[in-house]
Symmetry: C2
Subunit: 124 residues, 2 copies
Amino acid sequence: MTDKRNLDAAFDSFDATWEPRVVATVNDYDVRIAKVDGDHTWHSHADTDEFFLCVAGEFTINLRDADPVVLGPGDVYTVPRGVEHYPQAAPGTRILMLEPQGTPSTGDQGDVDHVPTSTGVALN
Amino acid sequence: MTDKRNLDAAFDSFDATWEPRVVATVNDYDVRIAKVDGDHTWHSHADTDEFFLCVAGEFTINLRDADPVVLGPGDVYTVPRGVEHYPQAAPGTRILMLEPQGTPSTGDQGDVDHVPTSTGVALN
């Protein structure tokens, strides 16, 4: 069971970018939120899809073999399992993600210089 | 894989209340949205948690043994598996849900007079 949470308050409770917070769980899935800004890294998740909801700002999902998917506020998109993607974000962008617990944020890439990998951090 | 969707546009594409639309899938989970208004029914889901995000309006989750959980815009809450709940909503309320594909909207209750059960309807 997870407590009632407000997304705005949850976002306001941390400053780090590219370091998702777990705002709720659903069975063995996490609902994670993250502040994102600038470049992430090319990576993929072999075993799971990854759902994104852009809450604020602009979130671009670059893909190897297709046009970038550009998400504005209220836009949703699921990156299929195994598909390489490179997220980029405008300053102030906020996203909500859904994925199985334990899924690393950088997928098959592990730690990257500018983006330490994370499996989600508990909210305060 | 699911196409990029905008939540506002998706909500504007249908009128029915208490009849969720599938806006995205993630592995074998649905991300569903619904317009809700008035009373749902007491029910539970024996095998799954159910996640709610209030997108607009006011969504109240009545519980048998605890105070009601009242969600406003941006509030999230997960009803644990097996917990009886009775959703109620103010006019104009919009919610987003996350649950395994095939989960019936009325749980163990099947069709109810004022709330036909649904496992989610595809968006146009």
